[in-house]
Symmetry: C2
Subunit: 191 residues, 2 copies
Amino acid sequence: MNFCSNCGHPVNLKVPAGDTLPRHVCGNCGSIHYQNPKIIVGALAEWDDRVLMCRRAIEPRYGLWTLPAGFMECGEDSLQGALRETLEEAGARIEIQGLYSIINITYVDQIYLIYRARLLDLDFCAGEESLEVRLMQESEVPWGELAFRSIDLTLRAYFRDRPTRRFDLFEATLDRRHSAARLITPPAATD
Amino acid sequence: MNFCSNCGHPVNLKVPAGDTLPRHVCGNCGSIHYQNPKIIVGALAEWDDRVLMCRRAIEPRYGLWTLPAGFMECGEDSLQGALRETLEEAGARIEIQGLYSIINITYVDQIYLIYRARLLDLDFCAGEESLEVRLMQESEVPWGELAFRSIDLTLRAYFRDRPTRRFDLFEATLDRRHSAARLITPPAATD
């Protein structure tokens, strides 16, 4: 950020009064421009023993596989966002079962919210941002060709949990590009 | 948004190629400026049968009561954000038990992530943004003087769940300023 989006004058990085972190502050109109992490919403949709996967037709990670997911938009809630992304990228209609994973990626300031869902019919098709959409059994998942570590973590947790069908919320943080995931203690639903 | 934060030229609202929604696009450098919902992280911290509440020393809702919570910052994960806000606003150290509520507020493009936590000691004090910090039993909660509906919903769910100490994730959406909350089906941890 170089210029104030309100008045067009140059901004400076400084700590506003009463704040603790440097922000982009306009020297002309005084606007403070906060930057915050962005939310990515998506779905892990099941059909029998298979999950719905998309091969990306866009950068980054063109040609690699992912779950339908994308940036949450203003005006929608996280669940509506997951439904929308699944429809846009995989042409698929789903029923949400519940939030399944929260993956923080602090080095790119993103947080993934992935819902577990049931695919409602087999009438799906690749959207504009997908090269191909497929239902995959665990043995068919191309682990070496997944687009994002958040998706890898979510799928591994899912296949670990699936035999018991007990899908407690899975929470993890990726702190650095090449570090191992820091798994957050699974929340105790009872204590 | 009136001006491009990259080059300072005026922006226009238009739907970029391949997109479906209008965005602020710079006519000079071509930058697309996306706007997305913001995350608020906080904690519902317990000490025996009491919860930690803060009375706001800042606008909006000066003088009203809330749980320690605030905007998630870049570079931290959601759990670190909840710890930081609790320390800043209530001078309190907590141990996180797990994510407890997700409240979408679509008319202001916010999503609350409130963690359930255990207060570690009684050495807390009002931070700069609080007039007062208190531990409250259920009967002491000033329901008519709560700062935010997200906090009201979270506290009501908590006191409903507490007798059994089964704290399944609570998810709700507030679509309009005066509408009732739309409760999202509690996620089935098993199915």
